[in-house]
Symmetry: C2
């Protein structure tokens, strides 16, 4: 409701801007982009009456005060659209400005009258006035040309010249270039865009336990030992090396082999049971080496263009120093115990949760923030956050903002395998990337439906998926006791469906798929024991994964998650999808059946790439085999014994 108290300008605004998009949650949170991305903006724009309206996108970066402008065009039914490119990291802002465009209205009106042979004497006089007004906004030759045109309009002896001028494209150009915006309407609120560097949206993760980096069974791996693994990861083409927690491990209620609740002497315990007399979240487990060793490794990785990602698990073992020093950060029960952590049906008897509702919440929150800052100050920019959905949303919103204020390029991956609205909210309030349900999406329709949800709904604006076929916690049923083909399908899907993906190795690349009976968990899980791995042997499967990473690096189409178009196939086991970014055109055809060769036809998405009527040169980027396809439907045959998929590069032949 408005009264005359409202400032005059708003009361005179005749143009309406409604339903500006993207603006999830009414603008409460930034949407996400990386540098050089485009933001396509739509809005409903209209005015009262029959006057022409016009609209532009206003956008600006960082602390700039001055708006830049991008044109918008009418799509029909009063919807308008435009786009702008985000040029630099940091925050960008945009909104839509619309106004009743009187000169444009005049131009279109006189044009119709001239075409109909109607008298336009009065209109020419009005046009002269508009030209005078426009010329005041221009300088130099343009201003002069407009003033001269106004003179022509006013001169009754130059009517033929005036009429030619009145319908000229030059005049239309002036109207657009020097717009007269009386009482323009600026959409409120504006929308913020968090613009990050490319890694936020294109990353390839490899997870391993540094304590399993030693050469010989019985040895505790060290950061120094990790050099071999690091070379392997580099060779394989990954660019994020993610370590489970590297802190001292609790001794009380320590877990034993295969999640036994009673550890035997000498068993190392779960790295997620953080803290002992040797220190807490800011300390390094002595058997791994020193903090300096760790930071040396981080530096070495960085020189190889690999980021080391740390694990942020805000919980404590029973002998974490916090328990004695800050009992007020835990929730004590009448019997003097603290209920151990659970993520039903999983039980973590070796871990105590923090009590976020404590009266001492402020000191707890500050301490937790100081942990992230401790490591960020030492050069860590990527954090994988353990179970963020078991801590308050507002805590994360605050912590991420605080950390990114000091270290703007920090990336947080949300490990929230929970209900969909909770996962979405965590992404919205600040997490850079998110684990997903990909791990359990196996059938063709499941995969298509989930990808449509991630890439075509509002989620695309803020939820960046990171696809994992496995984690130390999850060996999904579809991979249990399976061979190379099943593992190849799942890793190839992850690597080509999502621009962010990762794997927990080397169990994965060495094809270890033995489950804990009846559970989606690994047998002899590294969570509870130290393993020793072969980092050297170049197996065919490792070569396949290396190939995937290589293709991802050379094909910009695979560096985007949202550019996907699913293609028809005539075979339930064949999944096909097309991605295009610039001249990079990739068609993936996957045989979802790990046991049998499948063949069928794939329909090229002519609608997506405008190839209709042309032949296409098709190159399999895995095998380097070349084909020429002349029609819309094309035959494919995939033997999982060889490769489960084609990853085709497409080139139209003119």
């Amino acid at each position: 409701m408005c009264t005359f108290d409202t400032k005059k300008d708003a009361m005179q605004n005749r143009a309406i801007v409604e339903h500006m998009q993207p603006q999830p949650e009414g603008g409460a949170y930034p949407i996400k982009r990386v540098v050089k991305d485009w933001v396509t903006v739509t809005a409903d724009v209209f005015g009262d009456g029959h006057d022409e309206v016009n609209a532009v996108i206003l956008y600006r970066f960082g602390k700039q005060k001055k708006w830049k402008e991008a044109p918008m065009r009418a799509l029909g039914n009063d919807a308008w659209q435009g786009a702008f490119q985000v040029e630099e990291e940091g925050m960008a802002y945009f909104t839509v400005l619309a106004w009743v465009d009187h000169p444009l209205d005049w131009y279109l009106g006189i044009g119709k009258k001239i075409a109909a042979g109607v008298e336009v004497e009065v209109e020419l006089q009005m046009g002269a006035d508009w030209l005078d007004a426009l010329s005041k906004k221009a300088k130099g030759p343009a201003a002069k040309a407009m003033t001269e045109a106004a003179e022509v309009f006013r001169n009754a002896n130059r009517r033929a010249e005036a009429i030619e001028l009145a319908v000229s494209s030059e005049l239309l150009h002036w109207i657009h270039a020097y717009p007269l915006r009386e009482n323009p309407t600026q959409h409120e609120p504006m929308q913020a865009v968090r613009v990050e560097d490319a890694k936020a949206s294109f990353s390839s993760w490899y997870e391993f336990f540094p304590r399993s980096a030693a050469k010989h069974p019985g040895q505790h791996g060290t950061f120094k030992d990790c050099a071999r693994a690091l070379s392997f990861v580099k060779e394989m083409g990954f660019d994020v090396l993610y370590f489970p927690p590297i802190h001292p491990i609790g001794t009380q209620h320590r877990k034993g082999k295969n999640n036994s609740t009673e550890a035997q002497s000498g068993e190392p315990g779960s790295p997620w049971a953080i803290g002992s007399s040797l220190g807490g979240h800011k300390a390094v487990h002595p058997e791994l080496g020193t903090e300096a060793d760790f930071l040396n490794l981080v530096e070495k990785a960085k020189s190889m263009e690999i980021d080391v990602a740390m694990d942020i698990a805000f919980q404590a073992s029973q002998d974490h120093p916090y328990v004695k020093e800050h009992p007020e950060w835990f929730k004590w029960r009448p019997d003097g115990t603290v209920q151990y952590a659970e993520n039903p049906p999983k039980k973590y008897q070796d871990v105590l949760p923090f009590h976020f509702e404590t009266h001492a919440w402020k000191s707890l929150w500050e301490e937790l923030k100081s942990i992230v800052l401790y490591w960020a100050d030492r050069g860590i920019r990527i954090f994988r956050v353990d179970n963020p959905h078991t801590k308050p949303f507002v805590f994360w919103e605050w912590l991420i903002a605080e950390v990114q204020r000091k270290h703007p390029r920090t990336i947080f991956l949300s490990e929230a395998f929970t209900r969909p609205k909770i996962m979405a909210r965590l992404a919205r309030i600040g997490f850079t990337q998110s684990y997903t349900y990909f791990t359990w999406r196996n059938h063709k329709q499941e995969i298509i439906q989930y990808m449509e949800e991630l890439t075509k709904s509002e989620l695309r604006e803020y939820f960046r998926p990171n696809f994992w076929p496995n984690t130390p916690d999850i060996l999904p049923y579809n991979l249990q006791n399976q061979g190379q083909a099943a593992c190849a399908i799942r890793i190839a899907l992850a690597a080509t469906l999502s621009s962010n993906y990762g794997m927990y190795g080397p169990v994965y690349d060495l094809l270890e798929t033995k489950p804990y009976p009846g559970k989606e968990e690994y047998w002899d899980s590294e969570k509870y024991e130290i393993r020793v791995w072969d980092w050297e042997t170049q197996t065919p499967f490792r070569r396949f994964i290396k190939g995937l990473n290589c293709i991802r690096k050379t094909q910009p189409a695979l560096q985007d998650t949202y550019n996907i178009t699913f293609c028809e196939t005539d075979q339930e086991m064949l999944l096909a999808y097309y991605k295009q970014t610039g001249e990079s055109r990739v068609l993936v055809v996957m045989n979802l059946d790990p046991h049998y060769m499948q063949s069928g036809h794939v329909r090229l998405p002519y609608g997506a790439f405008n190839f209709e009527g042309r032949s296409v040169e098709v190159k399999d980027l895995i095998t380097e085999e070349m084909y020429r396809w002349g029609g819309e439907w094309n035959y494919v045959e995939l033997n999982p014994e060889r490769y489960p998929c084609h990853i085709f590069s497409l080139q139209p032949i003119s």
Copy 2:
């Protein structure tokens, strides 16, 4: 983004409330209801971790400070729903409150442990503490009972009793009745609801030109003559009598018969060309009588439970007093003229638009507001607004709010036959009812699709349709040179699809359907000449219309637009829909073909009324014929020569 500056409470809120609905446009405008309506509220509600959350609707009326509460229940996927009834006219407000419900969490937890035979000693101690906390919120016997229960929990000698108590429904009742809400989250912003009296959503309009109320050709009808017409309108069962403008008519550029641009001497001109030397919008056309005559008629109508609706047409004839007294309210062109009004392709040479962008906009707006207040002060509560889409939206927002501040029950009908988003916005910013595209929706799929848009989309919250088969401006092609059957179909559709409907008579009830050749307009339109009508003869068609109004009054199901469910038929020409309100169950089956008898089968919407397996007594409310239907699909046969539709009342037989 939040910092510690935020008040402690918000930083400790663990419950999340998102996507509260209905809240079109993020709460910028009130939704609409009438007294006794229910508002169903949904929201996504969840918390972090595994603690139980709970939620209620908070609502209040008018200037009450204290919220009332209505319960919400979880629907699955973190969606919650509840409802409250709006009890009084005026503004109501609602929001959703959610909190982590620790006692409920405890109750469900101990219940599971007891069921599993697990030790609950610690839980009983915690339960005693919760009971103590709850008891402080209760009084009298409940408080005492809770204190006693806490004692039982603490007494190690009363374990059997304690365990029985711990799983009792009484304990659950206490938890819900005396909720412990620590750091609850209240959704912002709240949503306003404009609650009006029933007429805003249930009205039957009859439009006629009072100057055509005389008995004999050649006479100018008067307000006194309108007594006959008023009796007719009452007898027919309408409850709004809407007059085109009753003000002095301009003489310059007066329109003649059939929209001729040159009136002959003695021609009366269009009533929408408002203003002459005899006065403007606050004056009454002398040939109709005096203002006192008009107000007497209004009073008489009111005594018959009929509201007289006035026409608000903010425009001026060339000899309106405003033109000389306030030239600053018009847009003068270089040749000293004002461009006449247009609503393309229609031209109104006899009408000048106001210039809403004038520097003197404030005095113009105030004057226009004073016109509405002038008549509202004299007892008029319903205004049909002519072409509101050609005046600024913000002007209407302001004017309607100002008028309703003084006269809260004022109803504004928006006559905006324009683009959909413009129509929607006018409704959103304050218009009570709106003309629609019904006039041009003829085929079965068109009607179903349009009704779904009006009743199942967000429009249902603020856009109240008013269905008209014709207006003085519009004789749609489907009625031109048609007989009774076509007119009966359209009026029956209007009267049963929409709770607000109207007709322009008596051309309609006397079946005058001769068009201006090639246009959707009447030949010999009353807009440009005075007619004389038979108000007495009770024709079969008039009896049919009277019957429709009678059925609408006795069947609450037809007093609601949003309760519609379309039913399957096996015949393209048969349209069927079901409406239910309480025990009023109405099934309409319409033969859309005015020329031929059509027969087919209609499927009862078992899903909508839970009749499955029962016989239904079916009574045609037009013919009083009774049937008994035993199955889901039932035969109907409609002869347009007799009646185009069945309007069945349904009664299940147990």
